[in-house]
Amino acid sequence: MKWLARNGSKLFVLGLFILAFLIYQANSKGVREQNWLDKSLLFVTAPAQRAFVWLIDEAGTIWNDYVWLLGVADENKKLKQRIDELESKLVEYDETSAENKRLRALMGMSSKLRGYSMQAGRVIALSTSPSSQVVRIDIGSLDGVGEGDAVLSGSSLVGRVTGVTGGYAEVQLIIDARSSVDALDQRSRARGMVRGQGVDDTCLVDHVVRTADIKEGDRMVTSGIGGAFPPGLLVGTVVSVTSPKVGVFRKVLMTPVTDFSTVEEVLVVKNRSQKSVTNQEHSYEKEQE
């Protein structure tokens, strides 16, 4: 009993370690799924994050439109005020023009993906851990977004939805170390598996056989195999191809087309997972017949 009293706290900590390990074991067997804690935290914190993003946007607008103008009103009132008005308008136009471009790209993609239902959303937060590349967006199951849906930015692939609540969703970017996308070389149709490396600049293209015709500068697009992503979406550009002395596969590195640090608006291709599952079920049934 004395021993137990003396080492009680150590045993307690050991118990917590075991509990953490068991939770990890239970969760690590498949693709990460959102549990009740994830859903509750997303439900509670995402509105605050959306409010924060809105606040920053509004503060920027107020600063550009009012405070800055008041600050310079003391010196050369008329002229400076005029210049500032023009400058702020210019910034506004630039912003509108950039937004217009992004939306046009989104709309362009929308027309390319006829037959798929789309929903535009805005990035409201990024993952807080350097070990994962996940973002939160301000649309969720109420907007028809489901787990497994593909997420695009303009004409390029951003990632896939891994968790969803009423008004918000979590998107795993293609640069996340756990992400893999079946892709094709747009020129030669050579196949490979694009895997994230956890950093912004490069992805690894796995399973590219030695005989495959793949060169630096080639564009990789989604193959559509497996139904996880619509076919033909731009993923990235090949930046290096090396053939090791031994082994069946080449080592291919690719830079994603999407600049993940500046993605603001995204487009979610809705119900992809359901469609693909249904398609797979149909093809399986046909095979059985």
Binding site: L16, F17, L22, V135, A177, Q197
Partner: protein
């Protein structure tokens, strides 16, 4: 109550950080604020309460990071244990030593997560990044330690604890 305060503080920090990162586009600026809190808890609180706090902080961090539940929970418990051991050996009372401790822990946690990736079916380890990007991330964590700890200290009533300890010692 202190634990609840700490959890709310952690939630607020992560919520704010997540949104801020959507505006700050610097690759190595992704501070691990929970790690900073974990080291704080390891240095300041009792073993049982501290370990429970760290466990809960880990669950929250896993959720915000969007990774498998248990990965960061286990990692933070490991860091907490190591800091407790370090504390029992050389009593890091000096701020500089504590900051070095945060720096080292930041690198350790990156290495730990990289070690876990293969168990999730991820082949590439990416240990190279601990040398380059990891050092920058660890430096950012170290720089943010002082403000985070001063806030956390106010929340858990550190000054009150100190006053009471000094009072008891003088008696």
């Amino acid at each position: 109550m202190r634990s609840v305060g700490l959890m709310i503080f952690a939630l607020a920090l992560l919520t704010f950080e997540g949104s801020l990162l959507a505006f700050v586009h610097v690759e190595f600026f992704r501070p691990d604020l929970i790690l900073i809190l974990v080291v704080f808890v390891a240095l300041k609180s009792e073993p049982v309460a501290g370990s429970v706090n760290v466990f809960l902080l880990g669950l929250i961090a896993d959720s915000f990071a969007g990774i498998h539940t248990g990965v960061l929970t286990g990692a933070y418990l490991m860091i907490w244990t190591l800091v407790r051991i370090a504390k029992s050996f050389f009593l890091p009372q000096q701020k500089t030593v504590q900051l070095v401790l945060v720096f080292v822990c930041s690198l350790m946690i990156l290495a730990y997560v990289q070690l876990l990736w293969p168990s999730l079916g991820i082949r590439q380890g990416g240990f190279w990044e601990i040398g380059g990007r990891g050092v920058l991330l660890a430096l950012v964590n170290t720089l943010l330690t002082v403000p985070i700890w001063s806030f956390a200290g106010k929340i858990v009533g550190e000054s009150e604890l100190k006053r009471r300890t000094i009072f008891l010692e003088t008696r």
